[in-house]
Homo-oligomer: 220 residues x 2
Amino acid sequence: MELTTAEENYLKAIYHLSDGGKKSVSTNDIAAEIKTKPASVSDMLRKLGDKEVIEYRKYYGVNITEEGKKRALGTIRKHRLWEVFLVEKLQFAWDEVHEVAEELEHIQSPLLIQRLDAYLNYPKFDPHGDPIPDEFGDVKARPRVALNEMELEQTGQIVAVKDSSAAFLRYLDKVGAYIGARIKVLDKVEFDGSLEILVDQKKTLFMSKDVAANILVQQS
Amino acid sequence: MELTTAEENYLKAIYHLSDGGKKSVSTNDIAAEIKTKPASVSDMLRKLGDKEVIEYRKYYGVNITEEGKKRALGTIRKHRLWEVFLVEKLQFAWDEVHEVAEELEHIQSPLLIQRLDAYLNYPKFDPHGDPIPDEFGDVKARPRVALNEMELEQTGQIVAVKDSSAAFLRYLDKVGAYIGARIKVLDKVEFDGSLEILVDQKKTLFMSKDVAANILVQQS
DNA sequence: ATATATTTTTAGCCTATCCTAAAATCGAAA
DNA sequence: TTTCGATTTTAGGATAGGCTAAAAATATAT
């Protein structure tokens, strides 16, 4: 059964909020995510339930079905492939692509996506470092490495810290290295293993090997 | 003022049916073009009139305004740029691109189109040989040449015949060289000036120089 | 355990776009 | 010029998606 653009957007939101289908999701949370009113969400949930892409029990939130998961992953795949296209071929900055990809992801043409995928050389990750599901909906888990183990020029996103003491987090905060920050290794000093890092394509930052060893990066 | 997808489609249809704004267009003709009912067209014409992209006098058909022309040309530009992309970059056949381009043409992002244009190296014609309006809505008139004057490998579309005798047309019909046919010069025989032509990317066709001299081609 | 607060749903309404059936208008022929 | 056929518009209704206000159900706190 065909989904409308609005339905695809709801399903994608539910997929994300449910952490890939692991948790159930509330009406209010969906409304906040989609920037719409809870009443509108209730309406849509009834429809998505009828189409069996979610399991909907009134007042108890929704769970995404296997079919729904497949659909959501299809939309996510399209979104991320378009993001790669925009950044790699059309020179968009990585933070300019989201809105346009939001539109492009609803174009209906399996052939188009197949060809685009090939044209981009079957990328596994989008410009934000998020994995691109393959045509079957399988996603490649992104390897996580300690920042000090990364090579020159490599890029990634800070996803976790090993040392979560207040002191360490306060330090990270001060230098502007938050969870989610996009980083690139600009330099590694042989002598002491300290690094020069580009954060969010804006500011550079020096850190010791010890600090870097406590920062986990999801590579792109 | 923003136009919806439906409004853009109506405007594009009116633009084409009016031969670029030269003639006025009837409700019935629009309905046929859009594959909708005349009653729906009346509705939409009122709206487009309110938005001043057409001039609408009940019962007397519509004329497109300058503003409307500009909008229509913008949509046509996007459509044709996407067609070039699909054919040149994603290896679509020239007759597979229309439906997808119908969807892509409604993506709203001036930056996207600007970048796409540059990426495609500012093409002047789409894969069907139709001219691509520039960002100001100006279109380059396509030169027409006699088929016998074309060079090897050149492509184009048959747009007219010099000799329109029944005999000649019957001959063209027999060999499958109709007005609108997409052709490519595969070979030119030095000795007698006869040609080998690829028609519609499917069948090849041999013709004498005399025949070719009577066929006018719009080059791409 | 009951009262209150929060969440969710329902009811009713709006706009966009489409439809069918009926009414209005136009234009051409007698 | 009157009438008749074709075209066009209007009227009224459907569906998709959104909104507000009010009702209903659930969750929480005393």
